[in-house]
Symmetry: C2
Subunit: 74 residues, 2 copies
């Protein structure tokens, strides 16, 4: 489970996480995810569900539309 | 598997599908999904993955960010 779309998404998740000065652990805690899940997501190794994308964007303090938009501007 | 977030997404999928004058079958064919999957999605009974959301938005001829944005304006 890895491909360019997931890698692009993962890079943007990492970008917004670092913008907030959050560790992977801290973001995972905010989202109620396992820390390893954030690491896997950021490396494009998970294909998150819509509901997990919503939780993630809440943790990143941006609308999901903004996270998606950032991936479209690559 | 049904809740307000998924129902809102499903309503927007239906809205954009009808805008294109596509049947559920026609949209499913464009996305390479089973027709029943579109019906389940539109009723909020599926939690689609990121990759399926990308396929769906391609079938609906809009960026995924626009589909997500529409759900945020409810």
């Amino acid at each position: 489970m890895e491909n360019q779309e997931l890698i692009t998404l993962g890079n943007k998740i990492k970008y917004f996480r670092i913008e907030l000065s959050l560790s992977q652990e801290a973001l995972a805690f905010k989202c109620n995810f396992d820390r390893t899940y954030i690491s896997l997501l950021e490396r494009g190794k998970r294909n998150p569900s819509y509901k997990n994308l919503l939780k993630l964007s809440k943790g990143l303090e941006i609308p999901l539309s903004q996270l998606c938009k950032s991936t479209e501007e690559v």
